[in-house]
């Protein structure tokens, strides 16, 4: 009996040890990135363009603007469509169309980001004839779409049936009931899902490699190639110049902060605004 108990204890310790060990790389990476990147960040880093090779200083303003543009385009393409489709799924739970759409969402969610890049290339870059922020934004939108659909559906499924009845029984039309009763009750969850989606796609590089492509200069035209934080990190990280790598570390800190803040706000939204039924 004693042997069994000792084994029990050892097993538990092993489990704890492995779990903690799994978190070590996370901390090591975060500490390293911040150690390298934080000293780089200052006002001029945020407001200036990258300098040519050999010139000291410079910043990542163009990548910041680009990431904002790309996320905006992704949101515009995916959020309204995703919410609408999510409403359909939650209002028509058992229709064959819903089954088909749910499988589509699963597949889209599992699709590797590089494949999404290929799709945006085929659909937008080829017909337009050159790389553009638009195609990059759409690629990120395709990645966000399944997240928005799923979080909308899941959240609406949690809204109790009796609220819908209460509204309909007051003579409120069905569309208004959906838009004014169901959707507002689900909004915190949907917003939280969207924020999570945004912070995920903001860090994506692969779908942008041959869509937004990157740009050394500031660009405000969504039909032209545009830089983005992850693209800049990739390009400068792979470059042989220390000065560029320095910029890449700074950009890495910005990107991590962006993603983490998005994640944290998303959590806060879903917990603090939670509608109590």
């Amino acid at each position: 009996m004693r042997g069994r108990l000792i084994k029990d204890r050892i097993f538990e310790l092993v489990v704890i040890a492995f779990s903690l060990a799994a978190l070590v790389p996370l901390f090591v990476i975060l500490v390293y990135v911040f150690k390298k990147g934080l000293p780089v960040i200052n006002w001029s880093f945020l407001t200036h363009l990258p300098k040519p090779v050999g010139v000291k200083g410079g910043g990542v303003a163009n990548a910041l603007v680009g990431t904002a543009f790309l996320v905006l385009i992704a949101s515009v393409t995916s959020i309204p469509l995703g919410i609408w489709a999510g409403i359909y799924l939650s209002e028509n739970k058992n229709s064959p169309i819903s089954e088909f759409v749910r499988v589509s969402v699963d597949v889209l969610q599992a699709t590797p980001s590089i494949v999404v890049g290929i799709l945006a290339y085929i659909w937008l870059v080829k017909p337009i004839g050159h790389f553009s922020a638009l195609s990059g934004g759409v690629a990120l939108g395709i990645m966000m779409l399944p997240m928005v659909v799923r979080s909308t559906e899941e959240v609406l499924n949690l809204v109790p049936h009796y609220l819908k009845e209460a509204s309909l029984a007051l003579g409120v039309s069905y569309p208004r009931t959906v838009l004014k009763v169901l959707l507002p009750s689900g909004i915190p969850g949907i917003v939280s899902g969207i924020l999570l989606g945004v912070s995920r796609v903001a860090g994506e590089t692969a779908p942008l490699l041959f869509t937004a492509f990157g740009n050394q200069f500031m660009n405000w035209n969504i039909l032209k190639p545009m830089n983005a934080l992850p693209l800049l990190i990739f390009n400068y990280a792979m470059s042989p110049y220390e000065e560029w790598k320095r910029l890449a570390w700074g950009a890495s800190v910005l990107l991590i902060l962006l993603v983490m803040v998005g994640n944290i706000i998303s959590r806060m939204v879903s917990e603090k605004w939670k509608v109590k039924f």
Partner: protein
């Protein structure tokens, strides 16, 4: 009544549009890969020659590169992800610290892959190079082994999150029955809980494998970009995703372009199967 009709119709259109994205994706990639598949047939997947200069394209090196890195990463990550899921789904179930652990694990997944790649390039590659020197193999630093290490860290959250979910779903009366028979916690875990959650854990493994297969940036940055069949665990190689990332913008010839898309299509089909099967298993567990 009419308004309701129009509203419902708009919902239906949106839902169908989401489905259409998928169908359009499959169709347009299939069409774009046809030239390559026509030119090489099944040999596309079995030929080891990837030579843009003489317009010969075989994807075998990348298929192997992907399989080796993914399975190696899975193998390396499994003890960690299972431990995390057991710890938070069983030992710490319902405790506050469990949600802290969950948050930290989610954070691993939230770090953008390009940053893993950058860190790998700057920190891990020199370390592996030292290891290779001491082992007496060619000290590239970059290669399959380095890529697998990074991948392993990155996929821990996927398997862990799912496995924890299914472990939490194991009915407590089953476990109590085992305790009542005098089984220790470990015995209950190994002989009752884990076997019961087996399906869901497998699904988690499948989904994280899907993630590993498609992971691009971190791998691209540390795998060394070699288009030949890898000879050892330390050889530089390419995966399906990394070869697309590296060569797509340079693919000048039609056949070259088509071959890269054919690789993308393969990746798409494989991850789709993994994703759907994984989801299906998880959903069935939840209904049960």
């Amino acid at each position: 009544m009419k308004k309701r009709g129009a509203f419902n119709f708009s919902l239906l259109v949106a839902a169908l549009a989401v489905g259409t994205v998928l169908i359009a994706a499959a169709l347009s990639m299939t069409i774009a890969s046809l030239p390559a598949l026509r030119a090489f047939g099944l040999k596309f997947f079995f030929s080891p020659d990837w030579d843009p200069v003489s317009n010969k394209f075989g994807a075998l090196p990348f298929l192997l590169g992907t399989l080796i890195t993914s399975f190696l990463a899975l193998f390396l990550s499994l003890p960690f992800s299972l431990s995390i899921s057991i710890l938070s789904g069983e030992y710490l179930k319902g405790k506050k610290i469990s949600s802290l652990l969950k948050t930290l694990v989610d954070l691993i997944a939230a770090v953008p892959s390009v940053i893993y790649g950058f860190w790998g390039l700057e920190v891990l590659v020199p370390l592996v190079r030292k290891l290779e020197i001491s082992l007496g193999v060619a000290p590239y630093g970059v290669g399959i082994f380095t890529a697998s290490l990074i991948l392993a860290v990155m996929i821990i959250p996927n398997a862990a999150a799912l496995a924890r979910e299914v472990i939490e779903l194991v009915p407590s009366n089953l476990k109590e029955a085992a305790y009542a028979l005098g089984a220790t916690r470990t015995e209950t875990l190994l002989k009752v809980t884990l076997p019961y959650a087996r399906g869901g854990i497998m699904a988690g493994i499948l989904l994280s494998l899907g993630r590993a297969l498609g992971e691009t940036m971190a791998v691209t940055m540390v795998i060394g970009n070699s288009n030949t069949i890898p000879k050892s665990l330390f050889s530089p190689a390419n995966t399906m995703a990394s070869v697309i990332a590296n060569e797509f913008t340079e693919a000048t010839g039609d056949l070259y372009y088509s071959s890269l898309i054919a690789i993308g299509l393969t990746l798409f089909v494989v991850t789709a199967i993994f994703g759907v099967v994984g989801r299906y298993v998880v959903n069935r567990m939840k209904i049960k």
